[in-house]
């Protein structure tokens, strides 16, 4: 592959301490992000998508902890182990602001209500590039212009509550992009927006990504969005990636029963009247109950005894396509 590797996550385990319990949320997640490409992480609510990306930038809540695994960020052929940096140390902060930008789910609550929008976007410029406020504001204005916010010269002096939802999300994207990062992590960036705005925001992100050759980690549960945006897809279920492959691998040859079920439950136009949208039976299990075997077994129509009794290894279907399922035992195990 001529693709340039920029972020590598290997065997990441993250757990949360709740009272006396230690609950594993992310269990051995590995993936790679390439320069200028989009990795989509898909899965139901609560499957550990957000925790995975928050582990990368070490923005876990206080009771969250990375137990195992490595996160490597490659900058100009130099490898930086993010998991070994101090959570709020200088180096980690520099990477968070300058190299990895983040866009969160709900633009309504992502901006501080008491500060002017321009100041909030300019903050990281002033922090990392030691810019004067006046120069930083110039950058902010040109960034907001790029993101399609009308009349940015006067809008930088407005407060977040004077912006609509879509405009706020543009501001949040501006905050993520202002220091020109290599990677943008978008954690369900359009979930809280209405449908017409969703399309605009996604188009905008795609455009920026292609134009400025950014890598994008897109977290979503919207398969339609994945089809439009992604180069690589990781399907997550209960803290594990159950299937990992290129966009074509996942959409043309979905292999894991969970992936197939997800694809079947996408609403499409043109259904017959009375024809029901398929859903996945059962509900997500308690992470404490999943100890051994495949977490999806209880909801899976192909489940067998062997799915539940021992650890299920990843199988390599094609050079780009991996799946964690006992249905593919004729394929070689993935060597780590």
């Amino acid at each position: 592959m001529q693709n340039e590797l920029i972020l590598k996550v290997e065997n990441l385990h993250t757990s949360f301490t709740v009272g006396p319990l230690n609950i594993p949320i992310v269990k051995g997640v590995s993936f790679e992000v390439y320069k200028g490409k989009t990795l989509a992480i898909v899965g139901e609510s609560g499957c550990g998508k957000s925790v995975t990306v928050h582990s990368i930038v070490q923005l876990l809540p206080r009771n969250g902890r990375i137990d195992q695994g490595t996160v490597t960020y490659i900058e100009d052929n130099e490898e930086v182990r993010l998991d070994q940096l101090q959570r709020y140390g200088k180096k980690m902060r520099k990477i968070r602001g300058e190299n990895i930008g983040m866009v969160f789910q709900d633009p309504m609550t992502s901006l501080n209500p008491v500060y002017r929008v321009g100041d909030q976007v300019a903050e990281s410029l002033m922090q990392h590039f030691k810019m004067k406020k006046k120069d930083a504001m110039k950058e902010v204005i040109s960034m907001l212009k790029k993101l399609g916010i009308p009349d940015p010269e006067s809008r930088i002096n407005d407060y977040p509550h004077q912006f609509s939802g879509g405009m706020k999300q543009r501001v949040v994207i501006a905050t993520a992009m202002i220091c020109n990062p290599d990677i943008i992590i978008a954690d369900e960036p359009t979930t809280a927006l209405d449908v017409t705005i969703q399309a605009q925001i996604m188009e905008l992100m795609k455009e920026l990504q292609v134009k400025y050759n950014k890598s994008l980690i897109l977290i979503t549960h919207n398969m339609g969005l994945v089809a439009e945006m992604a180069d690589q897809v990781a399907v997550m279920y209960m803290g594990r990636i159950v299937e990992y492959g290129s966009l074509t691998d996942i959409f043309e040859h979905p292999s894991h029963p969970y992936t197939k079920a997800l694809l079947r439950s996408v609403p499409v136009l043109g259904k017959q009247e009375g024809e029901l949208l398929e859903t996945i039976p059962g509900s997500t299990p308690n992470p404490l109950d999943c100890t051994v075997g495949c977490e999806f077994a209880d909801r899976c129509e192909f489940a067998q005894e062997k799915c539940r009794i021992k650890d299920v290894p990843y199988r390599q279907l094609t050079p780009t396509h991996q799946v964690r399922c006992t249905l593919f035992e004729e394929h070689p195990e993935v060597v780590k």
Binding site: Y88, I95, S110, E123
Partner: protein
């Protein structure tokens, strides 16, 4: 802003009038007859004398006339006279206000600094040792009544060890601030305890609430240092509810604390209120009550101003 202020201040006038009427007529309804306090028991027999006294004090006029007479005098700056001691109420207030102001200011400043400080540290180190200390302080300070705490500190520091005086404001003949500073230690400390505890709990809870907000995560994702996340992004927004209770405490600067002032025999407005109530000195009760009410109304204007300054969402509405 100016328009808003003028509106607020104008709205205060009918409120004050209503309060003055309520105070006046409520006292009118009580069975206390000031005459009983004015005359010595041996004079009680001569009914003619009493009647003459009533007439000369204007007590026989209808209540409504007496109310307006009192009100106009008040507006002219004539607060009237105490019917017990005969001294002008203005003089009483001028004499007692510095004592109340001094004590209340010291405990207010003390409790604000300590309360907000520990509340902040407590929230930042949630579940750490400082948080446990803060939480225990909060519960203890709020649940122990002030008079009890006052008695305990008097018992320990004044009686057992004899380090500090157990009451009053200064020794006879002393006037310099530093001479009487040690008189203030126990009452100020006792008064500050409960205020600190409430403020500490408010600050802690408000901070914890804000620290869970998405914009804190966004602020961290910008890579700014943690102290900036706490002070610039979290504290500024968390401050609003804290400031509200803080400002609503300002009236104690005028009214003092009845409990503290009587436990420590502190010669402030609070003890004036207490003694005038027990003596039925109704002109004093009316004026002091009105003063405290005015102080509360003014504080509520301050709350509005502070909220508008802190939160742009309020400003533009």
């Amino acid at each position: 802003m100016a328009k808003f202020l003028v509106k607020k201040i104008l709205a205060m006038i009918p409120m004050l009038l209503a309060i003055s009427a309520m105070v006046f007529f409520a006292l009118e309804l009580t069975p206390t007859d000031p005459i009983n306090y004015l005359i010595s028991p041996d004079m009680a027999s001569s009914a003619g004398n009493i009647e003459a006294l009533r007439e000369s004090l204007g007590l026989n006029d209808p209540a409504i006339i007496r109310y307006f007479r009192w009100l106009f005098n008040l507006i002219r700056g004539d607060f009237g006279y105490s019917i017990i001691s005969g001294t002008s109420i203005r003089e009483i207030i001028m004499l007692r206000l510095p004592a109340t102001l001094e004590l209340a200011l010291v405990s207010l400043v003390l409790s604000t600094i300590i309360g907000i400080g520990i509340g902040l540290l407590s929230a930042i180190n949630q579940n750490g040792w400082i948080d446990y200390v803060g939480r225990v302080m909060g519960v203890v300070g709020i649940s122990i009544p002030q008079f009890f705490f006052g008695i305990v500190v008097i018992q320990i520091f004044a009686i057992q060890f004899g380090w500090l005086p157990f009451g009053s404001r200064m020794a006879p003949g002393q006037t310099a601030f530093f001479d009487r500073l040690h008189f203030m230690v126990l009452p100020a400390f006792t008064m500050a305890i409960a205020m600190t505890a409430a403020l500490l709990r408010y600050t802690r809870n408000s901070m914890l609430d804000v620290l869970n907000k998405d914009y804190i995560k966004l602020a961290r994702s910008k890579g700014i240092p943690e102290w900036k996340v706490y002070l610039k992004h979290a504290f500024r927004t968390a401050l609003r509810p804290v400031l509200v209770i803080l400002i609503f405490r300002l009236p104690i600067l005028i009214g003092g604390s009845i409990v503290i002032e009587s436990v420590f025999s502190w010669p402030g407005i609070g003890s004036v209120i207490l003694s005038s109530i027990s003596a039925g000195d109704y002109p004093v009760i009316m004026v002091t009550t009105l003063l405290v009410a005015a102080a509360i109304l003014i504080s509520s204007i301050f709350v509005d101003i502070a909220t508008a300054l802190l939160d742009p969402r309020v400003r533009f509405e």
